[in-house]
Subunit: 351 residues, 4 copies
């Protein structure tokens, strides 16, 4: 930590502040600049809050953090080695990570009925997807909108898993539902709106299934990695980060702004695998293919694509869902791009 | 709803779309414009999703909603009459609403120990506050930061309530904790990070204590009112909306951007009472007084101010907390402003 | 400046970096932390760019600026003394600044014809305004919208000045128009869209008339003060800062988000006088009065209010303009608030 | 336009509003909905401002635009045919557009001296670039930072053009400098900060050289296309749109957020060619390559990349500049991606 004293700080105050920091077990080193005095704090500062330190004296102008606030999520924590998440699915273990082929998650926003989810699972499996997504519990802006079929949808997901061999990714919204979701899901999703639901983060961190952590609508990179840190600190090392668009000043043509620069940025900061969701990221099915292709070009480890057998009749998120036919074509396009970057296998899954 | 067809839409497609809407029980009325055809949909459209309607045909360019998405939260729902929230406290019933004197909530970010919370309660009571705030469960960006004392802090809040007679406002973060919090709290707070934790909203909506709903960091006015709608639709009519700053592109000098224009905007849209939290809204105690005063001038019903007996030693949010002395002075300043706008009583609470 | 070296930086690299800084005339002081080494740079660093310094070595993780980037605009530059801008008007000198009564600028968005601008001038003068605003050159989003009457409108402003005795504030958009505008205007406005039109800033800085500098739609506080610094550095000390709302993620009910927290923030940073424009800040006349009143409560030095004799027929910005009748009433409301804060004179102008 | 009347609007008011619109030459068609009445306005509405219409009556709740605000920039204006911009360079005509190979613009932020600009031009030409960028007039946040060598730099650009055969792209900041810049430049750049400098837009629209229009930091897609409309309406059809990152809430790791979704969005809206600038878009040279590659995958027509012979000593924008060696490698990577999407020629320029 670097403590910047205001111009004209009395010598006595600087002394006082230094002593105060010493009493906290830190060694303050003083640098007398042309206009200002700064104190470099040497010691265990990771747990300290810069804003808190600033309260010690009204003569402190600013406190600058030199260390990153996240530890277990940092690339340094693993000495620069990227982690991988291994997911056991009926079709075999699927590896998600920088040194593995790209994995594709596909499926509808919500599980609507058995026929539709089983059909969709088979279709996306045939097209080459590795995981089925499908919501049992749905976070909806309106209380009057379809809220998901809940517990009964979990059984339908289990049926689709059985029928297709695909791993299941589904969202948890309430700590009370976690156990029953974890029985069916191969990966548990934390949605954007719950990215800072810390109770939920702690609880998914205390169980074994891998966690897909979506970025919050207004979450900075640091906020996001700190949310991952909650899961990691609670004991679960298997976290996948999923970018799904952020909220900006322009929402006329896209629901969110898909931030693909997270790919090179996160690679510098964290060892965790990365997924991109261009369906939520743009909110419009027309825009999904080019953003999916660009994600592979920019280095993503995984993609999440909404697919619905009949988007016009979907109970949620129809406008951003691809038809199975369009998804088939997209998988062909993705395979071309995946091969260009050397990260595609026709059969990524050992049957 | 208004459906805008693309330029050059074939007549047959317009027919098809119209028939489709008729099959949904809606009456589409066609307007042939100079370049485009639009269909006005007459009927029960409140539950429909504009994005969903758009999926009916690729020739639909846009679907515009004419109705507000919220119902129970709307001012029209109460024929233009503003609602009030009555809170029973040991000191008597405190009314929060547009036709009542301004109420003030004060207290520390976290409950740290019995002495500090009881002392603070007495101090802010003496200064004229109506409610004590204090966190038992704390949402913190870092898992390594102080997370609140949890259940044991609830007992300390009960002691402070007893000692001061003030009503208690404290935050719930997990549906599992709601019952025990509701035993102590007079008003239950939903924090900004949980504004779209819909499980939690439904659950606080299904109990009796009034709910303080903080605006999410990137929540639009509509998002916020729809979150209130969750509570109202679940049966609890006692919701207070609390603005606490939004996230914008500039976070150097203030943590958030306090959006005081919500005051006139919400008055046009909703009957619910409004509170402003300049402590979180600015993140810096220096900026709290002028923003608190401005809030009263702009018409707020209530204020939430962080006060800590020793901000420099606070376990959370020290930088935005006032000392009890500064709070005393602020209450004097607020009383001048409150009298100017005709909404101040020296003893707002019937003892 | 503080230079933070990456974890594991080789000693030789730290040496190299230190030598490099010495060759720039700076004294680097090394602090060896628990994980990282930081270098404090002592010397003349104000003109240096932190990003530039970072390029010296790939082992530099970050460069943190300790000094503010602005000088002449800073409060320290005037040893904590706030500046005032004196404007000579036909009615006498009007002082704008923290130690003077609040000044009010009123008038239409655009000058439409002689009758309307002269009538408006007289009306707002009678209501107590000190300056007349009115656009001759108008920045419009669409090339097909009314662009202002240009040079001929300047004559009409001169006539309104003569008729009312009010000082004139009007916008310059092109360096080529500055001289003729300066002949008529008492204060020259730089609009939000030109806040970083540096050619224009230099040119208004090189002439004598006071400058009203509107904040850009996405300008940080630092950007804004650096724009002021351009004018000050070019030799013109008479700059008034005008907040007019920033662009955020919610534009449904207000065109911009009026950031009233600039009032306490700027007071800590700069000596320059501050004006608030709630008309552009909200974009809707309904919301103007409460935000104007709140601005006074929060400490503004001045207000800019759009007034039009017939908003429904205004050639631009009608929706945010008050009628003269509503403005009369607002001035009564403002006088109550102005007296409460001790900054109102019925006749602020010496005739 | 669609006019939405408030719930409970008196019949007489609806009559009045309808008559008013008729007097404007529009035909209002009334639709009586379940709760509200809406009026569809048929006629020439493109030049009308929805906010203005709303002023006609306090009973009007909202006015919704059905038409796009831009005309000449729209894809419909050219019946769905994409335009191309032909630039005459010493090496031959370079075509920029959707049906042409990808073009690459490279070079330093600022022209520093003859040797550096000529050397850089030759290097980037050898690597395959089609245009040289280099600033003579530089928009800098600080008045104390290097402002560009101005007119003398134009001569150096002419020398680099001569030596390399590359076309020159350089920025104009002031209408007064346009003529001399147009003598040297093959494409004239409008920078992000001047995107709504309407005087400048009109003036570059009134001359013959193609215009590169950078997106403003907080410009919506509509704002950007309306800025292009200014140039087109003034008579210059040769406009290239350049995305360079927008300002969002997170600026810690990237200076801006590069919005690659503009690629599919703009393709649906406009016929104009598109360029992506990942150097400004990210602000950090490390992140440029992956974003450049992703831009090609997502369908860009052109790229702008900052290259400097010695980024650590660059007078501006060093941190985001590639070394010539890194640029050589990037061009190899881009050629792989360009061939994958079928838009790359080793010799894109006819000599």
């Amino acid at each position: 930590m670097i403590v910047v004293m205001k111009v004209g700080s009395p010598e006595a105050e600087i002394e006082y502040v230094s002593k105060e920091f010493q009493s906290w077990g830190l060694s303050p080193e003083k640098i007398v600049g042309k206009h200002k005095v700064v104190l470099g704090l040497v010691g265990e500062t990771a747990g300290l809050d810069p804003l808190q330190l600033q309260e010690i004296s009204p003569w402190i102008e600013d406190v600058l953090r030199v260390e990153q606030p996240f530890k277990r999520a940092s690339l340094q924590y693993r000495q620069g080695e990227y982690s991988e998440v291994a997911v056991a699915t009926p079709n075999g273990v699927v590896m998600v990570g920088k040194h593995h082929p790209i994995t594709v998650v596909a499926g509808p926003c919500s599980v609507e009925n058995e026929a539709m989810i089983v059909e969709t699972a088979k279709r996306v499996k045939a097209a080459g997807a590795h995981f089925l997504r499908g919501g049992a519990y749905k976070p909806r802006t309106s209380p009057y909108a379809f809220q998901g079929h809940g517990e009964s949808a979990l059984e339908l997901l289990a049926a689709a898993r059985e029928a297709s061999g695909l791993g299941i990714i589904t969202e948890v919204m309430d700590t009370a539902d976690l156990d029953k979701i974890a029985e069916v899901a191969d990966v548990i999703q934390i949605g954007a709106r719950n990215m800072q639901n810390f109770s939920l983060l702690k609880k998914v961190g205390a169980q074994d299934k891998p966690v897909l952590l979506k970025r919050g609508m207004a979450a900075t990179i640091d906020d996001w990695l700190m949310a991952a840190e909650y899961v990691l600190a609670a004991g679960n090392p298997n976290v996948i980060l999923c970018e799904r668009g952020i909220r900006t000043f322009d929402q006329k043509y896209t629901r969110n702004t898909l931030d693909l620069s997270v790919l090179p940025v996160l690679r510098n900061l964290t060892h965790l695998p990365i997924m991109i969701d261009p369906s939520h990221g743009t909110g419009k099915s027309d825009y999904v293919p080019s953003m999916a292709i660009a994600s592979i070009a920019a280095g993503t480890d995984s993609l999440m694509i909404e697919v619905h057998p009949n988007p016009a009749k979907a109970m949620s998120d129809g406008p951003q869902s691809l038809t199975p036919e369009r998804f088939d074509r997209l998988m062909q396009e993705l395979s071309v791009m995946g091969k260009t970057v050397g990260r595609w296998t026709e059969m990524a899954v050992a049957v």
